[in-house]
């Protein structure tokens, strides 16, 4: 299935023109599966990269929950050196965003330093939120102070690259404001929600991050509240699975939208096609949807 992109679908994110508002969520689209990404996504976004290779957690790494899944991958990745060697494989003729995560502020800075002058990279997403890799028991977006510290340091290191701060739902409003004040150009909301799956027969549990349709209303709330508060653009993420989901996130305040888990169970091109159908019926180009709610339903 090929959807013809059009002016109707185009949006602009932090000054980067995207031919569609769809972006793969970090960690959910492999090099090997790029075939289905062609002509669908407005930008490419590979899995989070860390300074050194990470082997990740032992399996099982996923479990299912109603309308969702839990993952505990543990940021398995080849490390920044190998990642940069292979970077051309991600060239889809669309802007390339790179997601980075470190264990310390210095690591974040080092990663941004490697990307700051790389012409292939259009923007950097700071994964401040991955709930699987713990730093002193907490993540980088445990509070506004640490969010501000990382963002400010990365801002300085990569002054010319748009920086997106990717946050979790917990404490999202305070963290979003902190990221904006520290110089982030945009925000990605939200990363997975800390959750647990229990196998009642084996009596074992898998803690990890919840994603998929189940978290869509939680992500919509985050996008709605944050975009009403900050000036920088917000990229919606969490449970996007249909064309109307894309519209819902944009109406709630998102400038672009990431698709993760849903791409495991359907073709992203279908989502784009549905979204194009929505735009046609709604009589509106994509870029005019952002923040277009007419108010609360109840009032």
């Amino acid at each position: 299935m090929v959807v013809r992109t059009s002016a109707e679908l185009a949006v602009e994110l932090c000054g980067i023109p995207l031919r569609t508002p769809l972006i793969p969520a970090s960690g959910t689209l492999a090099k090997e599966a790029l075939g289905e990404a062609r002509d669908v996504y407005g930008a490419m976004l590979p899995k989070t990269v860390t300074p050194r290779p990470r082997q990740g957690n032992p399996p099982p790494r996923v479990a299912e929950t109603p309308a969702g899944m839990i993952n505990s991958i543990g940021l398995q990745n080849p490390g920044i050196d190998r990642f940069l060697e292979d970077l051309d494989a991600y060239d889809l003729g669309v802007p390339l965003l790179v997601s980075v995560a470190g264990d310390t502020v210095a690591e974040f800075v080092a990663l941004c330093g490697r990307l700051a002058d790389d012409k292939r990279v259009s923007a950097i997403e700071l994964n401040l939120s991955c709930p699987n890799v713990e730093h002193g028991g907490l993540t980088f977006c445990a509070g506004p102070a640490s969010v501000a510290e990382v963002v400010a340091a990365c801002r300085k290191t990569a002054p010319d690259k748009p920086l997106l701060a990717k946050l979790t739902n917990e404490g999202v409003l305070g963290n979003a404001v902190a990221a904006e004040e520290a110089g982030a150009d945009g925000l990605t909301l939200i990363n997975t929600v800390p959750a647990l799956s229990v196998d009642p027969w084996a009596r074992k549990a898998l803690p990890g991050g919840l994603s998929g349709p189940a978290i869509k209303p939680v992500a919509l709330r985050a996008v709605y509240e944050v975009s009403a508060t900050v000036e920088i653009p917000v990229v919606g993420c969490g449970g996007v699975s249909t064309g109307t989901d894309v519209a819902e996130f944009m109406l709630a305040g998102a400038t672009a939208v990431q698709v993760g888990t849903a791409s495991f169970v359907r073709e992203p091109a279908e989502i784009l096609e549905e979204f194009a159908g929505y735009l046609e019926k709604a009589g509106s180009p994509a870029r005019q949807l952002t923040g277009g709610l007419r108010g609360y339903q109840g009032s």
């Binding site: 299935m1 899944m69 359907r266």
Partner: protein, 241 residues
């Protein structure tokens, strides 16, 4: 991931397993699998994910899958008139350059990829012996679809009593050993075989196309490797089990 909606043309319950087929012409490599879903998203959201199933057979017209109902995903598939499946995924068994006799070992529902593998070996003119292990005579019924196979059951109710290895001669006799079944069985086969030996592993999958990093197995010197793209068939020697 792209899914195709296919009507189930034929369905049969054999022992504890369900065999069904749909019209699709291939090609498929022995050992490859499909991700299968009861209905198009969002027909069911519980389970949300598709299930990996090995291709059981492919005669150029119809493609069949053989599966065991374990939980809700397979229970729904068992009821479906129409399912959603992907194109063949992963790397199957390597039969290139094999000319001596081969041993095919299947444990339980692990017999699934051996039917099509046997078909391929026959086409290549490579002789092989099939050994199948089951819990009991009930599940062993599927062995009637493997003419000449030697059978073992844990309770001795069909064939010899014991594991699939108890039904087989020493594996060194074979030029190649191919096995599929539960991990403990695969580990035992790995220990018993010292030549060319390929194992089809089963890990929980999220996507089936390499995107999610769920389905990893430990590989010597390489850490965790995704079994959906680099497997599900691995050289026994490379697995760090």
């Amino acid at each position: 991931m792209k899914f195709y909606s296919v009507p189930i043309e034929h369905r049969e319950h054999i022992g504890g397993y369900t065999l069904f087929s749909y019209r699709w012409e291939g090609p498929v490599e022995p050992g490859q699998f499909a991700m299968a879903r009861f209905g198009r998203f969002p027909y069911t959201l519980d389970p949300l994910l598709a299930r990996p199933l090995s291709f059981y057979d492919q005669d150029g017209e119809a493609t069949s899958l053989l599966f065991e109902v374990r939980g809700r995903g397979t229970a729904l598939l068992d009821q479906a008139d129409k399912i959603e499946v992907t194109a063949p995924l992963g790397r199957g068994f390597d039969v290139n350059g094999i000319d001596g006799p081969c041993a095919l070992l299947g444990g339980g529902i692990g017999v699934a990829p051996l039917k099509i593998l046997g078909r391929r070996l026959e086409a290549l003119g490579v002789p092989y012996d099939t050994f199948l292990g089951f819990a009991d005579a009930g599940t062993a019924e599927i062995s009637r679809d493997f003419p000449g196979a030697r059978v073992a059951t844990m309770d001795g109710s069909a064939g010899v009593r014991g594991t699939v290895l108890d039904a087989a001669p020493p594996l060194e006799e074979y030029a190649a050993v191919y096995a599929c079944g539960p991990n403990p069985m695969l580990a035992a086969v790995k220990r018993a075989a010292d030549g060319f030996c390929q194992l089809s592993v089963e890990e929980r999958m999220g996507c089936g196309n390499g995107s999610c990093n769920a389905c990893v197995v430990p590989v010597e010197g390489r850490g965790y490797v995704r079994s959906c793209v680099e497997g599900p068939v691995f050289e026994a020697a490379t697995l760090a089990w």
